[in-house]
């Protein structure tokens, strides 16, 4: 038996495979296809203090080996999560993290506070990197000062594991990672989507209602790998790697580059069973290469 479990910022995951926010709903959407309790961790949809309708349709454009989205954090708000969603997921045997988003520091803090008391939510993922909202969102994640400020404010009120999700739309991601580590983040996840754009030549119009949107999928993988490798050299807290993971091999590449755990996002749309296939594939890889413990291969590059 190989040991697949990992610890990320105080939370024990049964394996290093998580599903990425905004791509896996609340997990339940996938339960006809897989046993979601096999997954190491599930990061639920971006959640804000109040309900948000998100951006107008069209919010999605397919691109070469990827897609752009401009959903804009549509969600029913944190109170709805607490009263309606939490009771449905709390007894599922995996780790649910709530992806917390906001426009102001007060919003982030208020949302995090409401999640403190949920026994079965061991941590939050602070989304300071959403490119699809006008105010706040990514703006917090693109300077060290604001990333530090929001992390510090949330750290003060939130007592469980704090994962901060970093934006790739910056010139030096390691600096941002160090800034949030210094302010008390327990782990960092990266990358969120890369700011991009798609044009319909025949209609001579941008495809997305918002013109720009966030790029995800295999197209971003080399960029994500590079950033995971850089950040893992720069910080001591665990790094959770994501961006374009479509297979166990992709996941292993992130782990070798320095990720303690990974998240699977867009790939879930193409194969709703992919997360469990990746868990099996990682185990096979360890057995085949005679490793006893997943930690043996973390950051060997």
């Amino acid at each position: 038996m190989v040991k697949l479990s990992v610890n990320i910022g105080g939370v024990e995951l049964k394996n290093p495979v998580m599903t990425a926010s905004g791509t896996f709903g609340y997990g339940l959407e996938y339960s006809d296809f897989i046993d979601i309790s096999r997954i190491g961790g599930i990061i639920v949809k971006g959640t804000t203090i109040r309900e948000r309708q998100g951006n107008p349709y069209p919010r999605m454009a397919e691109t070469s080996s990827g897609m752009l989205n401009a959903v804009g954090l549509q969600n029913k708000g944190v109170d709805h999560f607490v009263s309606e969603i939490y009771p449905k997921i709390k007894d599922i045997d995996t780790n649910f993290f709530v992806n917390v988003s906001g426009s102001t520091i007060e919003d982030y803090v208020a949302t995090a506070e409401k999640l403190n008391d949920l026994e079965k939510i061991p941590g939050i993922e602070l989304n300071i990197s959403c490119p699809n909202v006008k105010e706040g969102g990514m703006a917090f994640g693109t300077s060290c000062a604001s990333a530090a400020e929001v992390t510090k404010a949330v750290r003060r009120v939130y007592h469980r594991s704090l994962m901060v999700k970093l934006s790739p739309n910056v010139s030096n991601i390691s600096d941002i990672a160090q800034a949030v580590e210094y302010e008390g983040a327990d782990s960092v996840s990266l990358i969120n989507t890369l700011l991009g754009m798609a044009v319909d030549a025949e209609k001579r119009k941008a495809i997305l209602s918002t013109v720009t949107g966030g790029l995800s999928g295999p197209a971003v993988k080399p960029v994500a790998l590079r950033m995971v490798w850089q950040v893992s050299q720069a910080v001591k807290i665990p790094v959770i790697g994501l961006g374009g993971i479509m297979s166990a091999q992709d996941a292993i590449e992130f782990i070798l580059a320095g990720a303690t755990a990974v998240q699977v996002g867009t790939a879930n749309f193409i194969d709703p069973c992919i997360s469990t296939k990746i868990i099996d594939g990682i185990e096979d890889y360890l057995v085949r290469n005679k490793f006893n413990n997943i930690s043996d291969i973390v950051g060997v590059i």
Binding site: G22, Y57, M67, V71
Partner: protein, 256 residues
């Protein structure tokens, strides 16, 4: 309804005209329950350019032959690739997805099923289902010209068929919304699928005449199972998820 991920075998790929083809898919085991209005997400394999699955309506389910039929229009790279599949090929699908049309209208209701272009696809399965449940269907099918009217003999099995063509080569000349049947007869219920301008005109007709009208939307999708919220449509109650709360909606609920 439980959703499945299945590999089905392509039994037949019939080219109906330059732009349309009909796939008949089967499986060694019985196909799962599926209902009219629902759709599938088709994986397009071996394509450098196609990344996401493609949503396609369930055109018909032949339980005796254990066949799922998909009627597809070639509009771009994914549909082109699917049109090239040969019998024996394996096609991976998520199904059944989305809600259904109203399947239990009041007995004796005067029903009209209106389709434009490839929007006729879900109406065959719906018509067959309604006929089996002792309802009488009228179909009003519109296309550019006679050669673009697809599957007429199939529709004729399940009800009376009226047609319009833009060039007048079959049925009445004009758009479906201009057909005289909509003036000469009254209906209790409209089921519609087609281009947005057609559905919008029908939504207006329905609100003027007080007829209950259901439309099936074809928004672009990523997941098809309610996880990404890419597919929303605007409604009086805010953004609705087309792949789970639809694709079929009461036309009154939507903002046109």
């Amino acid at each position: 309804m439980k959703k499945f991920i299945l590999d089905l075998e392509l039994k037949e790929n019939s080219i109906l005209d330059k732009k349309h083809f009909l796939l008949k898919l089967t499986s060694p085991s019985p196909l799962p329950p599926m209902l009219p209005g629902q759709f599938v997400q088709v994986l397009v394999k071996n394509s450098q350019e196609v990344f996401l699955r493609r949503p396609v309506s369930i055109h018909y389910v032949d339980r005796e032959r254990n066949e799922l039929w998909l009627l597809i229009q070639v509009v771009g790279k994914g549909s082109q690739k699917l049109s090239e599949l040969s019998p024996g090929a394996t096609v991976n699908l998520l199904l059944p997805l989305g809600n259904t049309f109203t399947l239990d209208p009041v007995p004796q209701s005067r029903l009209i099923l209106i389709g434009g272009g490839v929007g006729i696809a879900p109406l065959l399965f719906l018509g067959a289902y309604l006929k089996n449940n002792n309802h009488q269907c009228n179909f009003l099918l519109g296309a550019r010209s006679k050669k673009d009217l697809l599957q007429l003999t199939e529709f004729e099995k399940y009800g009376t068929v009226y047609t319009t063509t833009e060039d007048g080569s079959h049925g009445e000349k004009g758009y479906v919304t201009q057909h005289s049947i909509l003036k000469s007869k009254s209906f209790d219920m409209i089921y519609a699928c087609g281009p947005t301008p057609m559905m919008k005109a029908l939504a207006e007709y329905a609100s003027e005449t007080g007829v209950y009208c259901e439309v099936s939307l074809e928004n672009t999708m990523a997941c098809g199972i309610g996880a990404c919220l890419c597919c929303v449509t605007d409604s009086l109650d805010g953004h609705l998820c087309v792949c789970t709360e639809g694709p079929v909606f009461n036309s009154k609920r939507l903002k046109w």
